[in-house]
């Protein structure tokens, strides 16, 4: 009797043990390991390469790099570019955000759509367009200026540092706009009213209440803009090189010119990486401060400020900015696409479809590049959105030990500028055990890594909004974790994941700074072809490909907006 009871009990425990094994665990562990591998291998190689010598280690590469006069200049130019871009982005983005969030400026929807368009326009296309607009002699604006005024000096010279800052800013100010518009939308007017009741004037309220409340958002927008400018390759390559100066990114790129100096590229990359990481840390600190949390509350009513007679002048000012980022560049691209000679007026004899026929049918690289781009876009977006979804699921539901590390790694690529990532990947994947260079796979890995933060942030927000109860309700009724993921979580997360997919896709098709180092002739993508054509001066073909890229981008954007039911910028009405 007692024996049989004993056996029953221990049998039950054993069965309990077996039943206790969570069959979905391998999936989560594999997911976590994937992100570790994705990040760790290239970064380890990068660090190793920068100190690697024939024997042992050396800081010789660093010494060489920082002793080099040309490099120090490039570093200085990068700092100047980044700082001014940040500043001007705030100067443009902040008033725009205020106008749309707080005032009765007309056409808010249109303004937001235009800011969104600047946000998704590949900056190198903008730079290219501005070459045609504001080249000091041939630039269309300068010609008009000369014709109108009879002046001999150009109005604008885009091949200067200020020209570069201007063009980069045109596509960077949306970062400030987004940060600020979302914050302003959360500050209740009663906070401001409270100050007004205590006798503060209008300006006083703005200075003592509103400004301190939005200051973290402004500074963090500034930092985001600086980060963009630090990492950018295309615009400096198009505008700074003709003017005879380098930035760090173009310098890293030129280290790959024959004979390649990969070690030096690595040695320059590491400080750039650290600088970026430091800036992001600052931004995080700022946003994590207590004061900002009160802004995050639902808050009360928000009053719109009547601009009175300034309504239309304000709108006009907005349009001036948008002319710089959208209207003029798009128009000149369209003109170049249809013109025999872009610098000549678009008369009948100058109109042609030859650029289209050449680019789309005769130029053998086009088709392959478009196919590669689409293929990579689809693959990266699908894999990326999937992996990001799994990762954010793992971290949200704390499915593995070290989930904080997983979250950190998924967001870590934010601090890695494209060229740095490319250098790291180039080093990692041109040698065993994984030789990926020369295949689309290396670009795929690069894009997957680079876009992971975007995908992760989007799906993290999605999963946060799905209460765990809903999954637990499925579990207790008999569904395994993976089954619940399929039946409950996935359908609820769908639109969020579609949006992540689209964000990644948009990011991939415009990617230049990593691609330019990682491509081989067989694995060229659209952005690289555009860059190659730029080096050869084939303006018409660039314009055609550029328009194709914009068309793909905007098609994707409209899918996101449909999926999310709101605009891409995340700015509430």
């Amino acid at each position: 009797m007692s024996v049989s009871t004993h056996r029953r009990a221990s049998g039950a425990t054993l069965r309990g043990r077996l039943e206790g094994v969570d069959r979905s665990l391998p999936v989560w562990v594999a997911t976590a390991l994937a992100i570790v591998a994705l990040m760790a291998l290239p970064l380890a190689w990068l660090g190793y390469m920068s100190v690697g010598a024939e024997q042992g280690t050396t800081f010789g590469h660093y010494r060489e790099v920082f002793r080099d006069e040309a490099l120090r200049k490039a570093l200085w130019h990068t700092l100047v570019l980044a700082f001014w871009t940040g500043l001007v982005s705030v100067a443009l983005g902040a008033p725009l955000a205020w106008l749309t969030a707080r005032t009765n400026v007309p056409g808010k929807k249109l303004i937001r759509a235009l800011v969104m368009a600047s946000f998704v326009t590949p900056p190198f296309l903008g730079a290219f367009a501005w070459v045609m607009l504001a080249g000091p002699n041939a630039g269309l604006l300068n010609r008009m200026w000369r014709d109108l005024t009879g002046a001999t000096d150009p109005l604008l010279d885009i091949f200067t540092m200020s020209g570069l800052v201007f063009v980069v800013t045109m596509y960077t100010f949306p970062y400030v706009y987004i940060m600020l518009a979302n914050t302003l939308a959360l500050i209740a007017s009663d906070l401001e009213d409270a100050a007004a009741i205590h006798g503060a004037g209008r300006l006083g309220v703005a200075l003592t209440i509103t400004l301190p409340l939005v200051a973290p958002a402004i500074v963090s927008g500034f930092i985001l803009a600086v980060l963009q400018a630090l990492a950018l390759f295309g615009s400096p390559a198009i505008l700074a090189l003709p003017a005879g100066f380098h930035t760090i990114t173009t310098q890293v790129w030129s280290f790959f010119h024959f004979p390649p100096k990969v070690e030096q590229a690595a040695a320059v990359s590491i400080p750039l990486l650290l600088a970026t990481a430091l800036l992001l840390l600052m931004q995080k600190r700022l946003l994590g401060r207590r004061g900002y949390a009160t802004v995050g509350g639902k808050g009360g009513q928000r009053r719109t400020i009547a601009l009175g007679i300034w309504r239309y002048p304000a709108l006009a000012a907005v349009f001036v900015v948008m002319a710089g980022s959208i209207f003029l560049p798009y128009a000149v691209l369209a003109k170049a696409a249809f013109a025999r000679a872009w610098a000549q007026p678009l008369t009948w004899s100058n109109v042609t479809l030859a650029n289209f026929t050449f680019t789309l049918f005769e130029y053998s690289s086009t088709k392959a590049a478009i196919l590669n781009t689409v293929e990579l876009g689809l693959a990266t977006a699908t894999m990326g959105a999937g992996l990001a979804a799994l990762l954010s699921y793992v971290t949200n539901r704390r499915l593995v030990v070290g989930h904080q590390l997983v979250a950190f790694l998924a967001l870590a690529p934010v601090v890695i500028p494209g060229v740095v990532l490319a250098v790291a990947l180039f080093i990692a994947y041109t040698r065993p055990p994984f030789v990926l260079y020369g295949t689309l796979a290396i670009l795929f890995v690069a894009y997957l890594t680079k876009e992971m933060p975007v995908g992760y942030a989007q799906s993290d927000a999605t999963f946060r909004s799905i209460p765990p109860d809903l999954e637990e309700a499925g579990r207790i009724l008999g569904a395994g974790r993976l089954r619940v993921l399929r039946d409950v979580t996935a359908p609820l997360a769908r639109s969020g994941i579609i949006a992540a997919w689209c964000f990644i896709f948009i990011g991939v098709i415009r990617e230049l700074s990593a691609s330019i180092i990682l491509f081989t002739p067989n694995t060229r993508v659209m952005s690289v072809v555009i860059f190659d054509l730029k080096e050869e001066g084939q303006f018409g073909a660039i314009a055609v490909l550029g328009l194709a890229m914009l068309a793909m981008t905007f098609a994707t954007v409209s899918v996101v907006q449909a999926a999310l039911g709101r605009d891409v910028l995340g700015v509430k009405e």
Partner: protein
């Protein structure tokens, strides 16, 4: 219309010309067809390269040409970068930097192959060991925009360009991209020393990459004068009616012979040989002279009459060995004087 018919008949004639001969050729054509394609890393400007490829594909249906066009220096970069990852992609390599071929030959990356018919080419077009041969030649010259400047005002000599009055009006291509310009820089350095470039650098030149982009920059009016560039590109633009004129300085013009070679690792060796032979036929060499404005080593090629004969020009040349040895120096100095 008439031009189109002419070029069509030209094409038919060409097809006949290559289709008829030698029977041994048949075996090679078959082998090439089996390989299916030839991969051509070329610095010949894009439209010209695509045209040669189309002609070849028309002559040998079933063998495709994969054109990978970029600047000479980038071609070497890519070939070497690919080899570090053990990628063997290029069959035929063609750049305007003869130094590359010295380098590649030393590294045993070239296949000795003498294309049919090159025995009649002048010595400057032939490697003594039979690895590479000059497919085409051009000179570098000064170009200016005829709408923005009269012939009288235009600079006449290389030294004229040093005049500070040209400040902000000049454009140069980049020796880190263009083999034509790398060769050009060396040829002028030997003539005038680095000092020439140091002074030129004072004039704040606009820097483009390709030697084909200096004439387009002049045509667009962005700069008035190009201090170097592929004369054939300028010639093509001029022939199409663009406001550009070419000046061949009396002190001499650097001659750039652009060699071609088959790689030792060519994945499609038969197609590569077939293609290389094809590019050295009189017909293709004539196409290069006619529509592209290039010079060639082929003795039977007739040149357009609106262009000086090579024999009439004083030619400055740069030795391939030296070009190879001083490759890094050229690029470094250029960056030093011009900024980027």
């Amino acid at each position: 219309m008439i031009r189109r018919i002419l070029s069509l008949t030209g094409l038919v004639a060409l097809m006949l010309a290559v289709a008829v001969p030698v029977l041994a050729q048949d075996a090679r054509v078959e082998a090439a067809k089996k390989e299916g394609k030839v991969v051509w890393y070329t610095s010949l400007v894009l439209p010209s390269a695509e045209k040669v490829a189309k002609l070849f594909e028309a002559a040998y249906p079933g063998v495709k040409v994969e054109v990978h066009r970029t600047g000479s220096e980038r071609i070497l970069q890519r070939v070497m970068q690919e080899l570090t990852a053990n990628i063997k992609n290029a069959d035929v390599v063609h750049t305007s930097d003869a130094g590359h071929f010295v380098f590649l030959k030393d590294k045993k990356l070239l296949m000795p192959y003498t294309p049919a018919g090159v025995d009649k080419f002048p010595p400057g077009f032939k490697d003594k060991d039979g690895y590479y041969f000059g497919l085409r030649a051009t000179v570098t010259a000064i170009f200016y925009n005829t709408k923005l400047m009269s012939a009288a005002e235009a600079p006449k000599t290389w030294k004229d360009l040093l005049d500070p009055k040209w400040k902000g009006k000049l454009v140069t291509a980049h020796p880190s991209y263009s083999g034509v310009v790398a060769t050009h820089v060396l040829a002028l350095e030997k003539q005038y020393g680095w000092d020439y470039f140091k002074q030129l650098g004072q004039n704040k030149l606009m820097i483009v990459q390709s030697a084909a982009d200096t004439p387009t920059t002049v045509v667009s009016g962005e700069r008035i004068v190009a201090v170097n560039g592929g004369e054939y590109s300028a010639y093509q633009l001029k022939k199409k009616g663009n406001p550009i004129e070419i000046i061949y300085p009396k002190e001499g013009v650097p001659l750039i012979v652009s060699p071609t070679a088959i790689t030792s690792f060519a994945p499609h060796p038969n197609a590569a040989k077939l293609f290389t032979d094809f590019t050295f036929t009189r017909e293709i060499q004539q196409v290069m002279a006619d529509s592209e404005g290039l010079y060639t080593g082929h003795p039977d090629v007739k040149y357009p009459t609106d262009k000086p004969k090579l024999g009439d020009l004083k030619l400055l040349s740069a030795d391939a060995e030296e070009l190879q040895k001083r490759n890094e120096e050229i690029k470094k100095r250029f960056v030093e004087f011009f900024g980027a």
